[in-house]
């Protein structure tokens, strides 16, 4: 016991090490978000407007990122594609995390038949390969971002559900929660003071990984031409379209690749190596 108290006292008195990885991750993500959302304000160019004179033109002062194979502004297209990916990823993480976490708490709290039913539901979704589910939905409703979004959310929520359920199950039987109940506190208080502070850091980690997964999934589907349809700018689709011109215009092909790389890297850095 002595050792434990001593060593914890020692680590507590040391200045906390800054998680450099997280800071870098947040900075990169912030820059990408700023680029995606500020570009249309300072550079209001239609991402679908073609000008065949400029086909595959290299970057210049008047067009910082050059033109693609149809003479469309790469800057405008890249920003629009990033907005789509970021928006979809954010939405799917949100719609996966909120019900996932709530159902997890519900299952752990109620136990019995509710717990079993929800767990089986989770297992059913997990038994389907995630990408297949998204493919099925996009096949049913082609060229609609919502199909992508619903599909990705349906795959992602299980992780939040399982994590929250496992954490809540141990917390709910702890003396601390029992004491709070005896003192007259209701479920809202127990969620706010006991459960949420323990679950929130884990959810942030999983959400960052989930957003990275969503961005990769959207790009992968675009790359195999299942996701959104041309001429909508989308990172995966842009890669497919520009692939035949990699010799003439490597700069154009590299741009969506770098964008995906930066997004996924920053989200993984934010997620960190493991939850607390």
């Amino acid at each position: 016991m002595m050792t434990a108290t001593m060593s914890s006292a020692i680590t507590a008195s040391e200045p906390k090490r800054l998680p450099v990885g997280r800071i870098v991750g947040f900075t990169v993500l912030a820059l990408v978000v700023l680029f995606a959302f500020l570009t249309p304000l300072v550079w209001p160019v239609d991402p679908t407007k073609q000008s065949l004179r400029n086909v595959l033109a290299a970057p210049s002062w008047s067009e910082p990122l050059g033109y693609d194979h149809l003479g469309r502004s790469m800057l405008a297209r890249l920003a629009a594609a990033l907005r789509l990916s970021l928006g979809l990823a954010f939405l799917s993480v949100l719609t996966a995390a909120v019900p996932g976490a709530l159902l997890g708490i519900l299952a752990a709290w109620k136990g019995g038949i509710v717990d079993r039913a929800l767990s089986v539901l989770g297992d059913v979704f997990l038994a389907l390969p995630g990408l297949l589910l998204v493919l099925m939905l996009t096949a049913i409703a082609p060229d609609s971002p919502w199909a992508l979004y619903v599909g990705i959310s349906l795959v992602l929520w299980i992780e939040y559900f399982r994590l929250t359920r496992a954490t809540t199950r141990t917390l709910i039987t702890s003396p601390a929660v029992q004491a709070s109940r005896l003192l007259g506190f209701g479920p809202a208080y127990i969620i706010r003071r006991h459960l949420w502070p323990e679950i929130a850091p884990m959810i942030l980690t999983v959400a960052a990984f989930g957003a990275a997964t969503a961005i990769m999934a959207i790009a992968a589907l675009g790359f195999v031409s299942v996701g959104v349809r041309p001429p909508t700018p989308e990172l995966g689709l842009m890669m497919t379209e520009l692939l035949p011109y990699y010799e003439e215009a490597p700069h154009a092909l590299l741009q969506p690749i770098i964008a995906v790389f930066l997004l996924v890297l920053s989200l993984n850095l934010i997620a960190g190596r493991k939850a607390q």
């Binding site: 002595m2 003396p175 029992q178 004491a179 709070s180 003192l183 007259g184």
Partner: protein, 476 residues
């Protein structure tokens, strides 16, 4: 008599010195015990001697083990002695055993890897060791199939298998009830009787007394008193040692039991409960009168805590019923927990937790300050997290928290079993005093029969044999 182990001027440093120069010598056949409270530095001293200090700490001084002099500042040379000459009986050994290995294999590892015997020889020697400890039948069992006492003996055999003559026992009775504590003491003393060296680290005064031999008392990193155990405990020179001995429940002044008065406000009739297919108790009747203190004793696992939880309606009884008379609301029935840190939300400050309670029930926040002063809690502690205050302070916060609700019944489930002796006495005194003052009935559970005898108006004794004695009021 040549000493097995001599420590000379051993000091431990973090940033500043946390263990002052300590010297001791351990003789064959004579136990040496270091007695001290949590944070007194006794474990650090033992770790410095063993060469197992955690990272960030360093030691100076020297240790002579089996004729070999080691400088602690250099910090080398211990490794070759571990297992062969000196070994550690870990705290709570049932947690130290590998849950996936059978008892004999765990012991045979020592023979095989430390002494280099063949697999067959190692297994044979392990079997002999286990048989000597009365564990011949248990050699093929996994730790989960062993009782706590058996697991402790297996851990002991494993610690000894490398051939070490010097055993360091770190809090060997932590978390044990009285019967199992006696088993462990017998086991350790047997080892000493065979001429081994035994260095015991403990906060348990009764253990120190039973071990005999030499005793050192530690306080704030200093050995304040050292000598033969009978002398130190019989005629303590230092004020702290005297205080420590007085804090032993056996030396507490007798309480003044009161006769129950008024109509009972909590009645249990024919209550029974089973757990895991085993009947804990049945047909239990109890009427709790306002303001009385009821003590509950019995061996661990006999259902003492379960009974209290049933009275609080935290658990449903299998048979019988519990009635609350007098229309008292549910929040007037409260509980104090065994492990204070686990009874508070971990990530919010104590101020937040207490203000939440005040807000929820519309209490008068002005009552907090005088009550804190009464419980000898410094206001600055309010801004800390539960993990950042001591166990004794946190238990007093737990008492503060329930007292704000003016309870009529308080179930105190081993409220001091994780606290040091002096802290325990302070806590129990405050609990009894405040309960008497506020006419709050207390059901106090403890494995310490002496403590229960001193504080309670009447006792319930669980015998662990499906029935129980209800001891009637001590005073007429």
């Amino acid at each position: 008599m040549t000493a097995l182990l001599v420590a000379d001027g051993v000091r431990v440093f973090a940033r500043e010195r946390i263990v002052e120069p300590a010297s001791l010598s351990l003789h064959p056949g004579r136990p040496f015990t270091i007695l001290g409270e949590t944070g007194s530095g006794k474990s650090l001293l033992a770790q410095a001697i063993m060469g197992t200090l955690p990272k960030g700490l360093r030691a100076e001084g020297s240790v002579t083990i089996a004729g070999q002099r080691l400088s602690l500042a250099v910090g080398q040379g211990h490794r070759s002695l571990w297992g062969r000459v000196i070994s550690v009986l870990p705290q709570e050994p049932w947690l130290a055993l590998d849950p996936t290995m059978r008892a004999r294999e765990q012991v045979a590892e020592g023979y095989g890897f430390v002494r280099g015997l063949s697999v067959a020889d190692a297994a044979r020697r392990a079997q002999v060791d286990l048989a000597n400890l009365g564990l011949a039948d248990a050699s093929g069992k996994l730790p989960s199939q062993l009782s706590g006492g058996m697991a402790q003996r297996v851990a002991f055999a494993a610690a000894r298998a490398g051939g070490a003559r010097i055993v360091i026992a770190d809090e060997p009775t932590k978390g044990l009830d009285v019967a199992r504590r006696d088993d462990v003491i017998a086991l350790l003393l047997r080892e000493v009787a065979e001429g081994g060296g035994l260095l015991t680290i403990t906060h348990d005064l009764a253990l120190a007394r039973r071990m005999g031999g030499d005793l050192a008392v530690m306080l704030d990193g200093v050995i304040i008193e050292q000598g033969p155990a009978e002398e130190v405990l019989g005629d303590p020179q230092h004020a702290y040692t005297r205080r420590l001995i007085e804090a032993d429940p056996a030396h507490w002044p007798d309480g003044q039991p009161r006769k129950a008065a008024g109509a009972p406000m909590l009645v249990a009739e024919g209550v029974g409960k089973s757990r895991g297919g085993q009947r804990l108790f049945s047909g239990l009747n109890l009427a709790v009168h306002p303001g009385e203190i009821i003590g509950v004793t019995g061996p661990s696992g006999c259902g003492k805590s379960t009974f209290g939880d049933i009275l609080l309606r935290l658990l449903p009884p299998d048979e019988g019923n519990v009635r609350r008379a007098g229309g008292q609301p549910a929040i007037k029935f409260q509980k104090l927990y065994q492990d204070p840190p686990s009874a508070f939300p971990h990530r919010i400050t104590l101020r937040r937790a207490i203000l939440d309670l005040v807000k929820l029930h519309g209490l008068d926040a002005a009552r907090i300050e005088p009550l804190m002063a009464r419980l000898r809690l410094a206001p600055a502690l309010l801004d800390r997290l539960p993990a950042e205050v001591s166990g004794g302070e946190l238990q007093r916060f737990a008492l503060l928290r329930v007292l704000l609700l003016d309870p009529v019944f308080l179930f105190a489930d081993e409220p001091t079993s994780r606290l040091d002796l002096i802290t325990q006495q302070e806590m129990i005194e405050l609990l009894v005093e405040l309960a008497r003052e506020r006419t709050c009935a207390v059901l106090i559970v403890s494995h310490d029969a002496e403590l229960i005898r001193k504080v309670s108006d009447r006792e319930i004794r669980f015998t662990g044999k499906k029935d129980l004695d209800q001891v009637e009021p001590k005073a007429a």
